[in-house]
């Protein structure tokens, strides 16, 4: 969606292409609105949570070129925070999620503070290591209940009115969170601030010499991405009614990378498709004979080797995609 509006300064956009893109958008929204009639709602909610998580992650890699290998800390951390807030402090769901988001943002601030001191792969390794520290913290901390996890988290009533314990209500609540999250990302990326992020990715030294405090911009993007990952994680805790260690492991950080890569780094909706594919794959493989890790690994390698732009990115870059006025730039 962002990519639709983003379409280049050179963009002579034909009216038909524009309307086709809006058509896509509306079709997508409509599909999401009626999806629970056809697909299993909890599965859909899970998908939406992971999709938002992947989009938040993409905000960082796709638009500032920073590969975080520790995003599970924000996602899983927020799940714990929200679960704890709702279960132990009896907060309403929206406040619980807020606690999750703020917690993730704070965590992002701390991890980001260290990580942005280095770039590229160094950055990836540092985030990985720090997130691993957070994992150990969660493992040992009292409130996370160790390997049992925080279980039986009540979903409560949204704004005290809407009962979220039914699947349908919870689905539309999750959908709303997802859309808001996506909207925030879209605005963030296509803003003057986003432009500076892009230029930092392109040539950091030059950005400094133009007077930009590069570190603050990076930290800003990092915290934003962490907060949105937290939004996804907090919501997930309510959907599943538990928060466990799985979501803070580094394998989870790897999974979100896979989702983003598969869907298309740097495209707004790519990660949504990527997440959909990975979640479906895992779900499907759970009942098949074939081990998930091997499939995940092979998909990863294939993606990197054969279609780096990801599903959506490849589509944008294809002849049809370009004719529709999309642009894939990385």
């Amino acid at each position: 969606m962002a990519d639709m509006v983003e379409t280049t300064a050179s963009g002579e956009r034909s009216a038909t292409a524009q309307s086709i893109r809006i058509g896509f958008l509306l079709a997508g929204l409509a599909a999401l609105a009626v999806a629970p009639l056809f697909l299993y709602p909890v599965f859909l909610m899970k998908l939406l949570c992971f999709a938002l998580f992947a989009c938040a992650f993409n905000l960082l890699i796709g638009y500032t070129g920073l590969l975080s290998f520790g995003h599970a800390a924000f996602f899983g951390g927020a799940a714990y925070f929200t679960a704890h807030a709702v279960k132990e402090w009896h907060l309403t769901p929206e406040l619980g999620i807020l606690v999750g988001v703020l917690g993730a943002a704070l965590l992002g601030l701390v991890i980001g503070f260290f990580a942005i001191r280095r770039q590229g792969i160094y950055f990836a390794m540092i985030t990985l290591a720090l997130a691993q520290m957070f994992y150990f913290f969660c493992l040992q901390a009292e409130f996370t209940k160790g390997e049992d996890g925080i279980q039986g988290v009540p979903r409560g009533h949204f704004l005290g009115l809407l009962d979220l314990s039914t699947s349908t209500n919870m689905y539309y609540f999750t959908l709303a969170v997802f859309l808001v999250g996506l909207l925030v990302i879209w605005r963030f990326v296509n803003s003057p601030f986003g432009m500076i992020l892009k230029s930092i990715r392109e040539n950091e030294q030059r950005a400094v010499s133009l007077g930009y405090s590069v570190q603050y911009y990076k930290l800003g993007a990092f915290v934003m991405s962490a907060a949105l990952a937290g939004l996804a994680g907090g919501t997930k805790a309510l959907v599943f009614q538990f928060a466990t260690l799985t979501d803070v492991t580094w394998q989870m950080s790897g999974e979100v990378i896979l989702m983003t890569l598969l869907g298309g780094i740097g495209t707004l909706i790519g990660p949504v498709f990527g997440a959909g594919l990975v979640v479906t794959l895992q779900h499907y493989l759970a009942t098949s004979d074939f081990p998930v890790t091997i499939v995940t690994g092979v998909v990863f390698m294939a993606c990197v080797l054969l279609f780096r732009r990801g599903l959506v990115g490849e589509f944008y870059a294809s002849r049809l995609g370009r004719r529709l006025g999309f642009a894939y730039r990385r």
């Binding site: 983003e6 050179s10 803003s191 003057p192 010499s209 007077g211 590069v214």
Partner: protein
């Protein structure tokens, strides 16, 4: 002995000055005890043999390096310990010896990025990108001034070397700096571009200070008001181009038999 100097002929005011500037890399001392004054409305050339320490002086002045000795004053403020982005925001802006553009942004966006900060459009993450359209007019003027208008929407990466340099100058000018530091702005440029850029520099120096490193002596002779010659990290000679170019030590160390 002092004479009353008429207002118009007064020494233009000093905007940037360094005293006793020194820099060593380990045991190697690249800049030694350099005093330098850069004046408003003047083009000041820093020349000297390769490895004399010119780029290092630039790095020191713009705080990309922290001097091991000496002080730097900019518009009356001691900036010796400030970080580079702060200094840039104060109006001390540089270009790089190796060309520095944002390769995957268009020419227009390159210039607009530079314009964003001084126009307060840098940190707004809640506004649409179209907020930047207000910068187009100024950006286009700058682009036209360096002759890149027809490449306005091209990716910077696709420009030839020379045109990247010109683009870099345009982005630098966009910051409307008080002092402009140009490291070999003409290097790798074709003759026609050299003339264009020389004109631009002359022009912008009317209301700001310019300090440039340049090996093209013709350019130095044509547009520079003041020349400092550096050798082995120390000042060898100083004055206008004619004085300096007649100095036998300068000829031996730097110019050879070359005429501008």
């Amino acid at each position: 002995m002092t004479f009353a100097v008429p207002e118009s002929r007064k020494e233009p005011r000093t905007v940037l000055s360094a005293r006793g500037l020194s820099m060593s890399f380990g045991a190697f001392s690249a800049v030694r005890n350099v005093d330098l004054d850069v004046h408003h409305a003047r083009v000041h050339a820093l020349i000297g043999p390769n490895g004399a320490g010119k780029t290092t002086v630039f790095n020191l002045l713009t705080k990309f390096l922290t001097p091991t000795g000496g002080t730097i004053t900019f518009m009356g403020t001691d900036i010796t310990r400030l970080p580079p982005d702060r200094v840039a925001r104060m109006g001390l802006v540089r270009s790089f010896q190796i060309s520095a553009v944002f390769p995957h942004l268009t020419v227009l966006d390159n210039v607009r990025v530079a314009l964003q900060r001084p126009n307060g459009l840098a940190t707004q993450f809640w506004r649409p990108l179209s907020a930047l359209d207000s910068l187009n007019e100024r950006a286009d003027r700058l682009i036209a001034a360096v002759g890149l208008s027809e490449a306005r929407n091209a990716m910077a990466a696709d420009l030839s070397y020379g045109r990247k340099r010109v683009l870099e100058i345009a982005t630098t000018l966009a910051l409307d700096p008080k002092v402009l530091l140009l490291d070999e702005p003409m290097a790798g440029m074709g003759g026609e571009d050299v003339a264009v850029v020389a004109g631009i520099i002359r022009n912008v120096a009317r209301d700001r200070a310019v300090l440039m490193v340049e090996h093209n002596l013709k350019v130095v002779a044509d547009i520079c008001d003041h020349v400092t010659v550096l050798q082995r990290g120390e000042i060898l000679a100083e004055g206008d181009y004619r004085t300096v170019s007649e100095d036998p030590r300068v000829r031996a160390a730097y110019m050879g038999t070359e005429e501008a």
